[in-house]
Symmetry: C2
Subunit: 394 residues, 2 copies
């Protein structure tokens, strides 16, 4: 995977495209060997293409296809694949349609937009319904290349079209299966200690990886094989054993967020919830509502920036939320996220969490020691896990 | 920059470290030439080190330093730099202190944790207060290497220590200055059209880049020189000219988020605000409260999942929020984010936004056509920009 753009190198943009591309390829048994980011620089892009072509059979390039002068990918690809830029009529009509009829821009279509319809005559166009820059496919010396725009929404749409092309192109793709056990409440090294006999006992085609993240550890087993059914059958007992060993801390058997785990639990119980957030400022509500269909069980949040950071305050917030919003469960948090606002008795990182239903309230006290962003994320994760356990027990 | 970890290649983790590293290096005039991500694989890491050493004078490596078996960076670095692993006593005491006195873990410190204190005897340890894995510095054939843990909080702490080392090491670093003009409300190609005479008139050491993102376009001018003062003086009139050309859409002259722009405006006016959010589910409140000190002007949010998606509803939400939370300004949003919930008259992507003060309410209607996440982010950006304009005008 080659990503193009100075903004990636100077850190103005975080590359989320590569992760999506990696997931999609992995699903069909293609392993991403390397990921290289280079600037908007002709010779650097050319060198990266040369170099990656030596070791990979598929190369996916994103970025540098926009309508502005710093976008040099297309003329470069024309040169690299010995072609010249020609207008693709279907793309040209699509550009016109998008600009005049979807974006409803007045006046004639700009020349720079129409130029988006030019492609090297050595490529196969992969039509991009979602934007003006077309995807392109090239083949050279047994390597297959795809060039995609860097806009995530457009790149994602095109990846969905590339996957079946690759499946047809490589008939004998290996099977790669990942199974992820998601634990919370214990550090990576303690989890590793629990698995110290399990890990070396794994067969050579099953690999264990640890993915620690804000007080949660994802344990990923990756099995490689030639036949899906057989590989799944081989992986199954090892994954069961893994779940068994870490069961005290196991949150989920899927690679999913706590907000989805909690959402599924509530759906199962046909129950509702709401939050009262002080220090997390709506972040927990945002996590929960990022799940499609969450309005079935999530009834709202009261984000209030006042309120003392104490056990009593969060308990009262839970009770008030349950009665006001008429929900089955409520979650409340209050704390000092920093960098300012700490006192001698309540330093930055002091957090109180409460969860409850109409009969019962439980509280949790945290002492965090990170920066503001991480304190907010860590508090939210702990709160959702605390709620998850409360729902399971009550 | 070399990042290590299978999780990066299969897309289980989004790499945010590289952006931070790029920013820090850029600030002192070091340009990141390439960024390479490789898996937890000895020969791939070795090859990446060999290859990047050919073209870069500084190599920063992150990841693979954890206490588990898939973490192979440290033994590899011992081999690569012809050393052997030895215990660093200061790090060992720090590991013990963290585990027993900060994490308050009972029992003796695990062998796998104490192993974190082992470093190649050919390195200089860069002490990591924030975690158990130390940073390391190596030198070989005129290239300087740093190995840092992949945990963002720890990596960031160590980068702050590396910067002065690099400044001392490379006395004649070039000056790189970025100035970013942040526009909202107009697409990249229209902005480019406005700048079509400006861009070719730039001197060769000033470069313009376009960074489009969810209806906003950041325009970055990058000047390179040998003297900070002179380079700043050269850049200044060009940046003024840029601001002038795009002034109709200009939000800020800094590379900052809308939530910070709005926060600064409110602070200036000594005014307060609150939000009422339906479809964004607390995301706007989260953005606003991610700014340190936001509790001075942000008084809270009512996240309510009910409510009709209409002009009247959002107007009433604004009025209710102003009177209930006693704030100067309120922002309300309601919409259908998808993938479900659309109807013939109100399809997915229908959004109503209202902003107001006690005298006046204004509304904005959007028709989005993205996925749920992007609809939430786009709505929030539009809402904050709408509020910004309202505050400026009222």
């Amino acid at each position: 995977v080659i990503t193009i753009g100075d903004e990636l190198l100077i850190g103005q943009t975080i590359d989320t495209n590569s992760a999506f591309i990696g997931q999609e390829l992995n699903n069909i048994g293609i392993w991403v060997r390397r990921r290289v980011a280079v600037g908007d620089n002709y010779s650097e892009i050319w060198a990266a293409l040369d170099e990656e072509s030596k070791n990979s059979r598929v190369i996916i390039i994103t970025g540098g296809l926009g309508p502005t002068a710093d976008d040099i990918t297309k003329p470069l690809l024309a040169d690299y694949f010995n072609g010249k830029l020609v207008v693709d009529e279907k793309v040209r009509e699509h550009v016109r349609y998008l600009i005049q009829e979807v974006f409803k821009r007045k006046g004639p279509v700009l020349e720079r937009n129409l130029k988006q319809a030019e492609v090297p005559d050595t490529c196969t166009v992969i039509f991009n319904e979602r934007g003006t820059a077309p995807g392109m496919m090239f083949k050279k010396n047994g390597v297959i290349y795809f060039s995609l725009p860097g806009v995530p929404h457009e790149m994602k749409g095109l990846m969905k079209k590339i996957i079946p092309i690759l499946e047809k192109e490589f008939e004998e793709l290996p099977v790669i299966i990942h199974k992820t056990a998601f634990t919370a409440g214990q550090g990576e090294s303690i989890i590793a200690e629990m698995l110290k006999e399990f890990e070396p006992s794994l067969p050579p085609n099953i690999k264990l990886a640890y993915l620690p993240n804000y007080g949660m550890v994802k344990l990923r087993l990756t099995a490689t094989g030639t036949n899906r059914e057989e590989t799944e059958k081989l992986l199954k007992p090892w994954f069961s054993q893994l779940q068994q060993i870490v069961k005290e801390y196991l949150v989920s058997n899927e690679d999913e967020g706590l907000e989805l785990v909690v959402g599924k639990l509530l759906k199962q119980k046909n129950a509702t919830m709401a939050t009262a957030e002080s220090c997390t400022g709506g972040y927990i509500a945002h996590l929960i509502t990022s799940i499609p269909g969450s309005s079935d069980y999530f009834k709202g949040s009261i984000v209030s920036i006042f309120g003392a950071v104490s056990q009593q305050t969060v308990s009262e917030m839970v009770k008030g939320t349950i009665s006001k919003l008429k929900v089955d469960y409520a979650l409340a948090v209050s704390g000092i996220m920093g960098p300012e606002g700490g006192t001698a008795t309540k330093p930055v990182g002091t957090v109180w969490i409460a969860v409850g239903n109409k009969n019962k309230t439980e509280t949790l006290h945290l002492h965090l020691r990170f920066d503001r962003q991480r304190n907010i994320v860590t508090t939210s994760g702990n709160a959702l896990n605390f709620l998850r356990k409360f729902i399971l027990d009550n």
